[in-house]
Amino acid sequence: MSSEYLIEVEHLKQYFPIRTGFVKTTPLKAVDDISFAIKPGETLGLVGESGCGKTTVGRTLLQLYRPTGGRVKYDGEVIFDAGDVPETDASGEVKLGSDGKPLLSKRLSVNMLPYRKKMQMVFQDPYSSLNPRMTVEDIIGEPLDVHKLYANKAERREKILNLMELVGLNAEHATRYAHEFSGGQRQRIGIARALAVDPRFIVCDEPVSALDVSIQAQVVNMFEDLQQKLGVAYLFIAHDLLVVNHISDRIAVMYLGKMMEMADSDELMNNPIHPYTQSLLSAVPLPDPKSARERQRIVLEGDVPSPLNMPSGCPFRTRCRYATEQCGAQRPALTDRGNGHMVACWNK
């Protein structure tokens, strides 16, 4: 079975049990019913404030966490189904059971090993995600060893050198230790390691946030070049909206574990519909004095509520200036407003 999409995430949920009393635990809904799909060679940007669940989406979809609910497909194949996903027929209509309620999918787990190679992750902090006592050669070689991707030592070395060239590292760096490198170079090492198994999809979790502006540009360009050359798809998680807009084909906006809006990146930046997206975009300090002077900032009141104490209905309603009674009573569904511009809001 093949699909238009490389990765399909449906109704993904990740609840962490948090101890809130002597024996009581409360589920912290870090990711609550998130759906999106990514085409081969495409970049989906994922933005939102710290703690809104971006990293958890990435880690859960790669099954680094055991999902609470939802389903993920790789190239049309279900690679796990934690249940609870409404079943649909060929035309997309939700199937109903004899009791008139939607039919939900059953738990299913599949051997992940063949998919592990296809889906990789690159982390935010190039300082802590690499073992400082390993040489560059061994760091990049590790996944080759795990998946036994070479016939002999010479082939292993050749693969490593090719990968280093691909990310712009010199061959003479191979025997040096990770701690001898700058932040930008360490990020390149991390990416070479992710590429070692020839993935089709990489979750990039804040891969440039820890880098200086001038070095950020080098790494962003490298991500773009690799996509051109290898056709990999990215889920690009970052909080710098200008960088995300630069690199992404589409952008998804999260708030308190839920998806608020998703659209083509130009459309989202020029025509944000959701009140949260609007205020988020207007709050970005623009590196352009004229635009900065002319712009009306929408400054949100207050802080993001605690995910343990989620507002009823729309999670944004405690800070939203358009909130009405309905917003507290019922959670708005993500609906298509044309051309795949998805928005979850009752009043916009």
Partner: protein, 372 residues
């Protein structure tokens, strides 16, 4: 000559380390007037924070000011004693940091910390100090201040802590507020709240702000004047419009090319080549020369002097001296005397009638030619 609120003149600050002297600040000068917002921008390690800490004299044990002066209302505070400095900090000038937890004590309620700051610098009574701390919290937009003063720092969100720290910094109504990356650790919407708060307070209280950041967006939004630092020196200074629309130093130009364009987001980024500077291994000439694609021979040999490139806009790049050659020709054609021209442009004619640049005019002696 009108006196500036703060005048930093040729400041040098260095640190003693196992690997030798680290010259973190190498001759930084700037003036700050009341009610202005000065931005200091530059890459990590360029000396922004060390400049700020030098003003406050809160450098690490191994660091010291090794040259230059810092004049506050005309008095050189580098000559002040401990007691004078301690009253300077707080009453004249306060600093807020990126991480509020470095200035807030986790074991005391925020009320008692605020009151202590007030009692230290004023002769208010305890009750008055309590009143004042509630007033300050209100001023920085903390809701229910009378309740909040009983809370401890860990009970507050990041944005709330930053507000409390600003309240502490304002306790004695300083003339100058130094903000070292005040919003870097905060989310965009909270950052917007804090920036707006700082702008409000600055208007209300008329204080001057020194905004230290690597975020060009924050700089463009907040600052009247900007200094760009590279390798412990000021490489360019001017208004926000100068820096963003007419950059005159190759580092500033490179910095602007390496961030996404606001109007044309998908345009490919142009990174600055090479790696950030190593202060233990500084070149003799322009600190940026190893990464600059326009570098000439002279750039490796001598430090470029700061030259005006427009009204209130200065840059330290040899290309600007090269450009002055044209001006020298024009002035010659206008019949201006040679000494005058040399004084203004640094250029003179040698025996063969060739233009040569007189390094003495940049205070370094000798003559040079501009070869690639």
């Amino acid at each position: 000559m009108s006196e500036h609120l703060l005048s930093v003149k040729n400041l040098h600050t260095s640190f003693t380390t196992d690997n030798g002297q680290v010259h973190a600040v190498n001759g930084v000068s700037f003036d700050l007037d009341a009610g202005k917002v000065l931005g200091i921008v530059g890459e990590s390690g360029s000396g922004k924070s060390v400049t700020a800490y030098s003003i406050m004299q809160i450098l690490a044990e191994n660091g010291s000011i090794t040259g230059g002066s810092i004049e506050y209302k005309g008095e050189d505070i580098t000559k002040w004693n401990r007691k004078q400095m301690s009253s300077f900090r707080g009453k004249c000038c306060s600093i807020i940091f990126q991480d509020p937890m470095t200035s807030l004590n986790p074991v005391f309620s925020i009320g008692s910390q605020l009151q202590e700051a007030i009692l230290l610098h004023t002769d208010k009574t305890k009750a008055e100090a309590r009143e004042r701390s509630i007033e300050l919290l209100k001023l920085v937009g903390v809701n229910e201040p009378a309740k909040r003063i009983k809370q401890y720092p860990f009970e507050l969100s990041g944005g709330m802590r930053q507000r409390v720290m600003i309240a502490m910094a304002l306790a004695c109504e300083p003339d100058i507020l130094i903000a070292d990356e005040p919003t870097t650790a905060l989310d965009v919407t909270i950052q917007a709240q804090i920036l707006e708060l700082m702008q409000d307070l600055q208007k209300k209280l008329g204080m001057a702000i020194i905004m230290v950041t690597h975020d060009l967006g924050v700089i463009a939004t907040m600052c009247d004047e900007i200094i760009v630092m590279y390798g412990g020196r000021v490489c360019e200074r001017g208004t926000a419009d100068h820096i963003f629309y007419e950059p005159a130093h190759e580092y500033t130009k490179g910095l602007l090319r390496s961030i996404p364009n606001v109007d044309n987001a998908k345009e490919r980024l142009v990174p600055i080549a090479g790696n950030p500077i190593n202060l233990l291994n500084m070149p003799a000439g322009c600190a940026f020369c190893s990464r600059c694609d326009k570098a000439m021979k002279i750039c490796l040999e001598a430090v470029p002097a700061e030259r005006p490139v427009g009204k209130d806009h200065l840059a330290s790049c040899w290309l600007n001296d090269l450009a002055l050659q044209e001006k020298a020709e024009t002035l010659t054609a206008e019949g201006i005397p040679a000494e005058k021209i040399q004084e203004q442009t640094g250029w003179k004619k040698d025996g063969n009638g060739e233009w040569v640049y007189d390094l003495a005019s940049s205070g370094q002696g000798g003559e040079v030619t501009f070869e690639q």
